[in-house]
Amino acid sequence: MNVTVLGLCGALLVGIGVFAFLWQRHLLRRVLAFNVIGSGIFLYLGAAGARGGAADPVPHALIITGIVVALSASALAVALVLAHLHASSATRLPEDEP
């Protein structure tokens, strides 16, 4: 039951993150939303792996890898956004500028 709650929480987080990712225009907020989706997926996977009582270490390893990958991607994305800001004084993509 507890695990189910956390699993559903993960599903909800994915939904919230997807909403924010599609809705927000500011690029940093999209990076943020990306991280929310990522952690939602990890939570979902982790909860699914914990249903048998004893935790399954394989998802844990996958999730740690996933967190590192997400952090790498976020760092590159942030650096890109800053470089873009420097070059064009904009925090959004050209097509999203009001």
Partner: protein
């Protein structure tokens, strides 16, 4: 009682996530994200995933938060005007519902837990997560360290040509006797001990190269933010050697296995000889930690910049 806790925890996580998604300013959203990361690492504890909780605390809440805050410091305060909400909301809700349904529809657990636990001692690590990371799925882990390297190369490539060759990030200016500097003197030794401990403990207990490396990266960033030490230039050979040392040693060991396999039946690419597996794993982990720490610190610090 535990259910109540879990329900409250989920409510807090979801609340923080929603606030991060819809907060009026990006700064508030970033703070919500940091808070969110803390809650999520609590959730990992509830799932008996201590290694993941450590990773989430260190990376999700810690380093990502620092990354976002630093980026915000470089940005003009701008109004957030999101696009139309209906379609994103429908997409998000639809996906969440589908995933929720799927979670309930999943069959009884079908994991590899027992298999891993049986095989873990033979792999040289009592902590099954470490066994998965460094033995069974070592190829993933190797690629993952390469992903870090790729991200860093990408970040460095974004420097302006005039700034190329300077140290990562902006030069920091700090009052020598100020709080910041003092802070930077007290915390790093403690942080370093914690980081190394996490790596050392990682083979048998929760922890490992990534968690330890992240803590050390945070320490390095603090030292830099407190202006106590100047980071080496991005062109520095020593820095670059440290960056690649982990993956290089990892790959080197892997290739030794591949070459040995030509005449030794048990050996294979990415296989560690069973007799020395434990010490080799520790050795690889230490090298990886070093590289991960430096790479992460450099990633968060950003491309080299001049003050122009």
């Amino acid at each position: 009682m535990t259910l109540a806790f879990d329900l409250v925890l989920c409510a807090m996580i979801v609340g923080a996530a929603i606030c991060a998604a819809v907060a009026g300013t990006i700064f508030a959203a970033a703070v919500f994200f940091i808070v969110y990361g803390i809650f999520v690492s609590l959730a990992w504890l509830r799932l008996d995933a201590f290694d993941v909780a450590l990773a989430e605390a260190a990376m999700g809440a810690g380093l990502t938060g620092i990354l976002l805050l630093r980026a915000l410091g470089r940005m003009p305060a701008s109004e957030d005007r999101p696009g139309p909400a209906l379609a994103p909301a429908l997409a998000g809700a639809g996906l969440a519902l589908a995933l929720g349904w799927a979670f309930l529809a999943l069959p009884e657990s079908a994991g590899l837990g027992p298999v891993v636990r049986n095989a873990a001692p033979g792999a040289g690590a009592e902590n099954p997560v470490t066994a998965v990371l460094l033995a069974f799925r070592a190829w993933d882990t190797l690629l993952e360290t390469i992903v870090l390297l790729a991200a860093l190369l990408g970040v460095w490539a974004l420097s302006r040509d005039e700034a190329w060759g300077l140290p990562p990030g902006l030069p920091q200016r700090v009052r020598p006797d100020g709080v910041l500097a003092g802070f930077g003197r007290i915390l790093p030794p403690i942080g370093a001990v914690v980081g190394v401990y996490l790596v050392w403990a990682g083979t048998s207990r929760p922890g490992g190269a990534f968690q330890g490396g992240t803590v050390l990266a945070a320490v390095a960033l603090l030292v830099s933010m407190a202006g106590l030490a100047q980071a080496p230039r991005v062109t520095s050979g020593a820095l670059r050697l440290v960056l690649v040392a982990g993956p290089l040693v990892f790959l080197g060991m892997a290739f030794i296995g591949a070459v040995l396999s030509l005449w030794q039946p048990g050996a294979a690419f990415l296989a560690l000889p069973e007799a020395h597996a434990k010490s080799l794993i520790l050795g690889i982990e230490l090298m990886l930690t070093l590289s991960i720490a430096v790479t992460l610190a450099a990633l968060v610090a950003g491309p080299p910049e001049d003050r122009a």
